[in-house]
């Protein structure tokens, strides 16, 4: 018994670590999804006070974002699928540095435990948003010890994924010359991880010094809180934005590129002819990788956050959008070749193509200087970011789980239940985030405890009940997936092939 537990918790194979990561992601997915349902329930609750208090609401919003990114999509897509699928794709038994990969899982698990623990603090979890901008996040008096725990959790998670990036980069490098697009996408993601996570750790360290050691990295002179002037001097708040966006944009690509790699891999596995657009997709992913590394500079100017009035070189964001759209178009062209009754994974790939189209459409608005000033800080940005690294990555995770399920269990997941889950999930979340973009066009602002004080976004507020209903539908549909997953372990159709062809 103990030996079996040890074999599961400290697996000797990379696939085992991948399964641990996927299990972590599923548990945290329930937590993050519950927080999302809580947010929507609060926003649609009638009455003066609403369901949650203002500080609780901000904490829920912050935790939803942080847990979904660091606890669901990164473990599942970046770490889990990498450990599960890359050994076979690279034709090697195990990924490099197995011990480091195992350590990264335990660090990631610890990070999630710290996130959850911070929600039980008396003063509540961090309420500064998952972007944690100073000076708000650097004010020790105001913010909630939850902020310190949040920083510790994010730091641990970044460290864990830095180790994963090291392992993936090393494994891909040591492999032979011919690599599939899946391998390429993970390699790009790993390089981005190596470039970005250390900067994030540095930024968190500097923020911690500002909070507790009286440093002034991000705090300028003359801040007055509660009628007393703070002693800081000489810092720049937008330095944190730069240091956050420098890993921020690559982190998004870490969530997007593997999703694209998974989609391309699924297309390749499901077609007899070579993949259309292999080279252009590779080029597109490379461009996305490079452009996201320098996008922090453009975004810093473009988001009106710099005081010098300089025009925004936001064309870098357009490179990312063009690359994303090209990969989506290639996926679409490959889908043209599939038969009238495509497998379930191809449904997910088609949904990803539609999601890419929506993400690019919204992204164009947010990249150009004039519209972006209007759209940042509103629900348009919320809808767009959920399309880009929420829905896209989620669809990729589901597709990957369907695709590699036989590899692990030797059985296939149920198609009928899977189709039902797919349509409910995709239909509801597509509606939710598109309507959120329309809400943002009406001026509805994000991270607002209540909107009832203002009249200017009334059209957007009218859409809120529809969004809430669709959210309930989408969240509830995930139960179907868990049912499918669990029951297929024993009841699924047995198959000899290790991947659904």
């Amino acid at each position: 018994m103990i030996a079996r537990l040890k074999r599961v918790l400290f697996p000797a194979a990379s696939e085992g670590i991948g399964l641990l990561y996927l299990g972590l992601a599923m548990v945290m997915g329930v937590v993050g999804g519950a927080l999302a349902v809580l947010i929507r329930t609060h926003l649609s609750s009638t009455g003066e006070a609403g369901l949650l208090k203002p500080e609780t609401y901000l904490s829920v919003v912050t935790m939803h974002g942080s847990i979904m990114i660091f606890g669901v999509v990164m473990p599942a897509l970046f770490a889990g699928i990498a450990a599960l699928a890359l050994p076979r794709a690279l034709d090697r038994g195990k990924l490099a540095w197995h011990g480091l990969l195992l350590l990264s899982f335990w660090l990631a698990l610890l990070a999630q435990l710290v996130f959850v623990a911070s929600m039980f603090l008396e003063a509540g979890a961090s309420g500064a948003g998952w972007t944690a901008m100073p000076p708000l996040s650097a004010l020790e008096a105001q913010l909630w010890d939850g902020q310190d725990l949040w920083m510790i959790a994010v730091g641990l998670a970044c460290l864990a994924y830095l180790f994963v990036a090291l392992v993936v980069a090393r494994s891909c490098q040591a492999a032979g010359a011919s690599k599939t697009l899946l391998v390429h996408s993970y390699r790009f993601a790993a390089w981005l991880g190596l470039a970005s996570f250390p900067v994030m750790l540095l930024a968190l360290g500097m923020l911690a010094l500002d909070r507790h050691a009286g440093a002034s990295f991000f705090m300028p002179a003359g801040i007055v809180v509660n009628d007393s002037s703070l002693a800081h001097a000489g810092g720049m708040p937008f330095l944190f934005r730069a240091m956050f966006l420098h890993p921020g944009h690559p982190s998004l690509m870490i969530l997007v590129l593997p999703a694209l790699g998974v989609a391309l891999e699924i297309m390749e596995a499901n077609s007899k002819t070579p993949l259309f657009g292999e080279r252009s997709s590779l080029l597109a992913m490379g461009v996305m990788c490079l452009a996201s590394l320098v996008q922090w500079g453009a975004d810093l100017y473009g988001a009106s956050s710099q005081p010098y009035g300089l025009p925004a070189p936001s064309f870098l964001a357009f490179f990312v959008l063009a690359g994303l759209l090209l990969v989506g178009a290639n996926l679409g062209c490959n889908l043209l070749r599939c038969g009238p009754r495509p497998r379930l994974e191809l449904h997910f790939v088609l949904a990803m193509v539609v999601t890419i189209a929506c993400a690019v459409l919204g992204g164009l608005w947010l990249a150009a200087q004039a519209p972006s000033e209007r759209m940042h800080g509103s629900y348009f940005a919320v809808g767009h970011l959920h399309f880009l690294f929420g829905l896209l990555s989620l669809l990729a995770i589901f597709a990957a789980l369907h695709h590699w399920f036989p590899l692990v269990v030797g059985r296939r997941m149920d198609e009928g239940l899977g189709r039902l889950h797919f349509w409910l999930t995709f239909g509801s979340f597509l509606g939710v985030f598109l309507l959120m973009q329309f809400q943002g066009s009406s001026g509805l602002l994000r991270r607002y405890w209540q909107h009832s004080q203002y009249e200017f976004a009334s059209l957007g507020q009218d859409l809120a009940p529809i969004i809430t209903g669709l959210t309930y539908l989408g969240a509830g549909a995930q139960a179907l997936f868990f049912l499918n997953l669990v029951s297929s372990v024993w009841l699924g159709e047995a198959t000899k092939r290790t991947e659904t062809p």
Partner: protein, 284 residues
């Protein structure tokens, strides 16, 4: 052993159940109809998206650049939706009628160039849209001060000059704006909470600063939103085109009271503004 057994997840002594051939899926729908159906669904989707991006969700803009911005964005949204619809309709119906696209190397790079051209075209059009422009020196100047959790406004008095401020001098009752009494231009400045008067039809410059954390001065009707930092004052210029009362709010998370940083903006002809200002007491 199947991988699950290897990994120790399933332990079964007996061999796995008998494998069987893949079930032959029956072609329940002829291929053409499926593509036409998908094409129709995509057309509807494209119409919906085009409608959504082109629909005026907010009240009409009441500033010069705002009107141009809205018009341009709505047009762009409608054209993009229409183009998307037409392209998808053509694709769906062509496939439905039996066209088999030849997907080979040349087509790959042609598609790549097409996509880059499309994104580039949109990018160029979007980058040309008007943002709040720098105004002339005769613009009407006021200072907006953001703090947790309200906006306040400092008007230059009869001398027309905003006086010097220092953050260290801020006191909630005696000197909420931190005015420096040593500066003669500061003696006649008027400070008011949450009420901003602006002259109709004239270019205005708002000097934005924050006393504590990051805020974002947001007036949806004027289509302006600009982040307000402590320690780094900045300017925002625009021209209101319609008289009335409008709302201001905060668009950057600034703490617990972020949602209630509201205020009133009154746009009126210049003489009405001067009359109101003359009745206000300077801070000293």
């Amino acid at each position: 052993m199947i991988p699950a057994q290897e990994l120790g997840i399933l332990r079964r002594a007996e061999s796995p159940p008998a494998m069987h051939e893949e079930a032959q899926h029956e072609n329940q729908l002829p291929r053409g109809a499926a593509w036409r159906g998908l094409g129709a669904a995509c057309v509807l989707g494209g119409l919906f998206v085009g409608w959504g991006f082109g629909h005026p969700w907010a009240a009409p803009a009441v500033s010069e650049h705002g009107l141009q911005l809205d018009g341009a964005l709505q047009n762009l949204g409608r054209w993009m939706g229409l183009a998307l619809c037409l392209a998808l309709a053509a694709l769906g119906f062509a496939l439905g009628l039996g066209w088999k696209p030849k997907l080979e190397r040349g087509a790959e790079w042609a598609l790549a160039l097409f996509v880059i051209a499309m994104v580039g075209l949109c990018a160029v059009q979007l980058q040309r849209l008007p943002a709040p422009v720098r105004s002339s020196s005769e613009a009407y100047e006021v200072e907006i001060i953001g703090q947790q959790f309200e906006w306040s406004v400092r008007y230059p008095g009869p001398d027309g000059v905003l006086g010097r401020v220092q953050a260290q001098l801020v006191h909630v009752n005696r000197n909420p704006a931190g005015l420096d009494a040593a500066d003669p231009a500061a003696m006649d400045d008027v400070w008011r909470r949450q009420v901003l008067w602006l002259p109709l039809g004239e270019p205005c410059v708002l000097r934005l600063r924050s006393l504590d954390v990051l805020h974002s001065f947001n007036v949806e009707d004027f289509r302006i939103r600009r982040e307000v930092l402590p320690g780094y004052p900045r300017a925002l210029s625009f021209t209101p085109t319609q008289a009335g009362v409008f709302e201001m709010s905060c668009a950057a998370l600034c703490g617990l009271g972020h949602y209630r940083m509201s205020g009133k903006i009154i746009v009126a002809p210049r003489d009405e503004l001067e009359q109101w200002l003359a009745k206000q007491e300077p801070w000293l």
